[in-house]
């Protein structure tokens, strides 16, 4: 286990804890999905895992080293984080945005080496944005923009990719494209992907490991076939699902049917 959190407590305002002694282990080189109701602490957990938020108590370990021991640049070379609906300034081109992913590797004045340029082009290619690279970001559709942000995270060349609802604002085709891309990166590059998702099928079809959060603690975790069963969905979301067997037996399809 290479990324784990131990007994994390966190609150934004005193008296209303978001994470209440949460412990979790993220399996290496797998795709992990975080699921749960609104406000259960998924996004907060993701930020704590990347040190964007400091827990009040508890610790995160990355490869057996306490997260707080990592220098900022070294951490940014290991872990990329796509936050929920990030905003870019107007006038920034796609290539410039993706170039920001190289920030943790560059010297004080930010001169890019040929390796940096190669990584940027590679990330653009992987996300099929090469032909849009010199367009300003605001000229892109929502799906293309989201891919540009993913490209930035890719250019960061990290083993860990944390994504907070990477499919928001995307139409169904683009949603699948993004998820396929993440699955491919996991398969071919061995990246460890941790993503917050709302659509149960995104978790069941693309994740190896599913973690269910409720009120700031992990209440269930396991493979998709262990999590996507009726009792678990009722417990986690208060929703009775219809479950179908798909082409892959261990990846059930889950349709929210009615509120219990």
């Amino acid at each position: 286990m290479s990324l784990r959190a131990r007994e994390i407590c966190f609150s934004y305002t005193e008296g209303t804890p978001i994470l209440r002694g949460l412990s979790v282990e993220i399996p290496r080189a797998k795709v992990t999905a975080l699921i749960g109701r609104n406000g259960c602490g998924k996004s907060t957990l993701l930020k704590v895992l990347n040190r964007l938020l400091l827990p009040a108590s508890g610790q995160v370990f990355l490869e057996e080293r306490v997260l707080s021991d990592y220098p900022a640049r070294e951490l940014a070379q290991k872990m990329a984080h796509l936050t929920q609906s990030p905003i870019a300034p107007s006038g920034l081109t796609v290539r410039e945005l993706v170039g920001f992913g190289r920030h943790p590797y560059l010297g004080f004045l930010g001169r890019k080496s040929s390796k940096d340029h190669e990584m940027v082009e590679w990330a653009l290619e992987k996300t099929e944005l090469t032909f849009l690279a010199s367009r300003p970001l605001e000229a892109l559709s929502g799906g293309q923009r989201q891919r540009a942000w993913i490209a930035m995270a890719l250019a960061q060349d990290t083993e860990y990719l944390l994504l907070d609802e990477p499919t928001t604002y995307l139409d169904i085709a683009h949603q699948l494209e993004v998820l396929e891309l993440l699955a491919q990166l996991n398969r071919e590059e061995g990246k460890t992907v941790v993503m917050v998702v709302h659509e149960p099928n995104h978790a069941s079809q693309y994740a190896h490991h599913v973690v269910g959060l409720s009120e700031g603690v992990v209440v269930m975790q396991g493979s998709p076939s262990e999590i996507f069963v009726k009792e678990r969905m009722v417990e986690l979301f208060g929703v009775e699902p219809l479950l179908f067997e798909g082409p892959e037996k261990e990846r059930p399809w889950c349709v929210p049917y009615r509120v219990t």
Binding site: H81, P89, G91, L92, T93, L97, F100, H103
Partner: protein, 320 residues
Amino acid sequence: MRTVLWLAGLTLALAALFWLSLSVGATAASNPGEVWSGLVSGEGVVGMFRLPRVLCAVLVGALFAVSGALLQSLTRNPLVSPDLVGVTSGGGVAAVLAILVAGSQAGPHLPFVVFLGSVVVAGLVWWLGRGASQQRFVLTGVALGALCQAVITLLLVTYAPSAAEAMIWLKGSLYARTWLHVGYLAPWCAVVLLSSLLVAYQANPLLLGEEVASSLGVRLTLLRPLLWGLSVAAAAGAVSVVGTVGFVGLVVPHMARLLVGPDLRRHLPVAMLLGALLVLLADTVGRVIAPPLEVPAGLFCAVLGAPYFGYLLWKGKTTL
């Protein structure tokens, strides 16, 4: 490429305006020969009076522009400027107090007193707003700035007749700026502007927001005070010599962004030139429009700046 062209064009424009500004004034316009000899020898009307004044305008314009550009990236708020967050108002309080207490004796020491006033208020803003979100930090500055303005108004009203000199100072004038002022300003300007250009790349990820910046390995706990310090140093230096020239720090960063985009490595040098150009233009026009009376440069910047800002709003291009 576009940046290089803009830089070249702006430098040319600045050089032309520099020359023009040396040739005109309250006394009769000088012919090119006189301007040249004054420029070289540092004597005569051109060398002793106009040249230091023009140099002050250029340096101060660049400083205000850089201060505004750094503040806007730091707070990620396109409406923030050194005048808004209390830095220049702090200098204003110090200036009014010094002028009221010491009268014309204050003259040579005024820059230091004003600088101190700006830095003290800026330090207070930092201390009170530490750890808060960007919005709260800005609001802290706005609140302290408003308090300073209230103090200034109170002093001006209470000591109305003797406060005339303070009034002129507050409007930001380049009148009677001498080689002494250039001597204060030039080294300061060199240090502040160079350091700003050096940190420009490091500050860039802030364009994407603080969370993204820290996930890219930016150490906000270092970068934020550094940017605040630099922008305060720039504004305080400028205010200490010419008083509160408003609008430059607000409008120029916008213009620069429209011209070359948000990357600070391109944005900052363009903003410096634009700021210098704007203040020099304001001062030159203010000098020749109705001699021997002068319209203070600060007033003229507002006159030029306000419609431009309206245009920006109308174009809907105010997002940072």
